[in-house]
Structure formats: C-alpha cells, structure tokens
Symmetry: C2
Subunit: 249 residues, 2 copies
C-alpha cells in the first residue's frame, strides 16, 4: 500500500461541507466516488480538516492509500474530468506512509472575505455587510488574538477536542480590490472558530463592542459572550503547511 | 415626465438575457417589476443593448421615464434591497429627455475571460479551455480587426440592422491573474459578434486556422467561414460611453 497526498480546491456552495453525511452531498464523498471509480477499488479519503456547509477551500489537502499503480499527473487529469466543475485536484504526490494529511499538518490559514457593496460577482463568494465597518478598529482588535492561547470563547460547545489551545501566528485585516480580507493562521483551529472570531470582530467594526471588550471576551473563555458567527460563504481555507521532509509544496 | 439613466451590473447566469421573453426570467423584467413596485406606477425600462442568456454585465446602462418624485440615491438603495443578489444598481441620474441609453451611446466595451485551468471559483464566470492557446498569435490576429469595418462574417444572420459596419477602436488580449482577457471596444456591435470573434480567435490560438486566414474570414463577409461562437459565460459587457454633455460618469 502506498499513501498519496492530494492538493485540491473547491467552491463549497453546493456541498454540506467537507465531511460525508447521510442524505447530503459532501466534497469527501465526491472524491471517494471519483477515486473508487477510476482506480476500480474502494478508496477512503482523509482530509486535513473539515469545512462546514458553504465554506470554500482555495487550498485543501487530503490523503488516500492504495496498491493501484498509476501516474500521478495522469490520475490528476482523469479526476478533474470526472469531478464536477466546483472541485479541482491541483496535484497528487506519493508520500511516506507515516504522513497524515491531518496530523502531520503544522499550520492552517484561512481568509474571510467581506464586501461592503452589493456585488453580483461575489454572490456566495464573500459576505456582504450593509454597513461600513471600522476596519482600523477591527485590525487593532485582531492583534489581541496573537496574545492569547485559549480560544474557548470562539469554539463550538461540546466538541471532542481535549483543550481549546491554539497558537495564532497571523491575524490581520487587509484591503484587496473591492473587498476586505481577514487573514488568520494558526497551528490548529477549533470548530467554528474563524467564523465566531470574524463575527465578533464585525461587532467591533460597527461599534457594538469596544476593542477592550473584544479582549475581555477572549479572556473570559465563554462562548456565550462572543458575537454571532459570520456566514459560511465568506470563509476560505487557503493554506495548510507540512514539514518539508514529508511534503514539499 | 423626467428621464433617468440607471447604471447597473448583473451576473447573467440565471437569466435568459437582458431582454424580456415569455416564460423566462430576464434582467429587464426584474428591473421593471422592481421599479413598478417601488414607484407604484408602470415603468418601462430601455437598455443600452441586449446581452444573451448567461452573458454578464459588469456595467450596463438603461433608462426609464416617470413623473414620480424621488431622491435618486434613496431609490438606488431601495432597488438594491428589492432586487435579487445577482443584479445591482450602481446609480440613478436624471438626464435630458432627449438622452437615450441606446441611441446616445457612442461606444461599448466587452471583455471575454478565458481560463486554461479548471477553477471552481470561475465557474460560470469565465470560459475554460482544455488546451493552451497561443495568445501571441491570437493577439496578432486581433489587431486585424482594427483595420476593417464590415463584420458580416461575425454577425448572426437575418438580423434587422441596416448594415454590418462597426468601428473597432480596441482589440487586445491581456493576461490578468490566472486568466486571459480579450478586450474589445467599438462604436457598435452586431448580434453575437464578440462571441463569434472570440471563438474564431481561439481557432487561431489552437492552430486550426492561421492569422492570415483569420484576416481573410473578415474580408469574405461570410458568417459560415468564422468559427463557433465562444460560450456565453466568458462574456462581460464592461463599459458604455456617452457624450459628456448628456451623462457624465
């Protein structure tokens, strides 16, 4: 058996998310069906993480094991012809059998895209706000995330993780064209974390809470204090880093 | 009665095109319904031109007449709340009653967007080709368009226009991010013209015809010699110019 890492991207609009769920269409299921059909053997696909319904991935990594023989570049092409237009395989690479798309990852990056103007070409691809947020204040508040490690306040309740500790290494708002982008990088993310953080930062941006209050919410470790999660369509998984020894991009 | 110019944009994917047609949903119909509902009087909307099903407009102008009183900026906001997410009103301006969105226009510009890679975020927003076109050759061929004025070879047959003469003032392929963009500007365009030109330029790009052959197709004034029209989803109306005296952008 050999292990393969797959780099891919998808538009999340028409999926219930990454993970297989009964009676709905997931990205994981589409990939398993495609690989199983092409390699003519049952293939299980393990992702580097999960994305919720409607969340996009400009960059995602998943792995699978098989004893089938194939040319990686040829298989990439065949998969892209088989898969629908909203899922694309960027590459397939054989890796060490110890490498794991999820457990070997050392960091993940997300972007959250905001537009303040109605834009027909960003429909389902960015979150449109009808007010003009104070992005300077949001940027200031965002830097506070770098000074903390327990993000219980921004995690979904009752998840199966042992602790809510994350090391955030980047947290910044930047303009890009007609949009504002929140970029956040960490060794790990809790469920719903980026959307809860973004929603609470937007509360800072419209003056509902102060920058100090935002900092206090982090310290309180209480989900009920944070703001409403920002909607799925603005969120993009954009990068996953691995040690150079196991998987060189 | 006063006349108003409306600047707008729309994503054409879910429409049968600009023009009202029985049993299908058009952009013109959506605008008339919205204006009629908000101004509580029947409003007819006249567009600067037509776009076919699936064709987008990053910039379009339409006019309407009414004796209703309103604040243009307020009406713009109300229309944007009323209209679906894939149609946006950019502005409303009162103009001279002689001004006409179609007949007063002095030039129109289109873009045709091509991607050579499968990209989930350009689905319905660009035309994906599975080969690597020779954009240098296409650009060279495109310059020939500037030297001719009769474009019968790129017009739909049996249209109601008196002649097929157009003055093309810009015709160039340019890279933009992961895409290639064909930019074309003219005083007027014939039905299906940009898609027919783009499809024929793509024939040059994949070596099916030579640059010289492309030039001969123009000279022949025979639609049957040109290539297949490029698909609707790559085409964008991007600009319409008017004399400064009647409508200043």
């Amino acid at each position: 058996m050999s292990r393969y890492f797959m780099e891919l991207a998808y538009r999340g609009t028409n999926y219930c998310g990454w993970q297989i769920q009964p009676n709905s269409v997931s990205v994981q299921e589409k990939l398993q069906q495609a690989l199983t059909a092409i390699l003519t053997q049952t293939i299980d696909v393990t992702g580097a993480g999960r994305t919720d319904a409607g969340v996009h991935a400009a960059y995602m990594v998943a792995h699978f094991d098989t004893d089938a023989f194939f040319n990686c570049s040829e298989l990439t092409k065949r998969l892209n012809r088989f898969l629908p237009g909203d899922i694309v395989i960027l590459s397939i690479t054989e890796v060490d059998s110890e490498s794991h798309s999820r457990f070997s990852a050392i960091s993940r990056s997300y972007e959250y895209r905001i537009t303040t103007k109605k834009n027909p070409f960003l429909l389902q691809l960015a979150h449109r706000v009808t007010y003009c947020p104070d992005f300077d204040a949001m940027n200031h508040a965002a830097t506070h995330l770098l000074q903390h490690s327990d993000f219980t306040s921004f995690s979904k309740l009752h998840t199966d993780v042992k602790n809510n500790l994350c090391t955030i290494t980047r947290s910044i708002w930047e303009p890009r064209g007609v949009e504002w982008i929140f970029r956040i990088e960490a060794n790990r993310f809790l469920r719903n974390m980026v959307r809860a953080i973004t929603g609470t930062l937007l509360d800072v941006g419209r003056g509902k809470i102060t920058i100090e209050h935002f900092n206090e919410i982090i310290i309180a470790k209480d989900r009920s204090l944070a703001g409403t999660s920002a909607p799925a369509q603005g969120l993009y998984l954009v990068d996953i880093k691995y040690p150079d020894t196991i998987f060189k991009k």
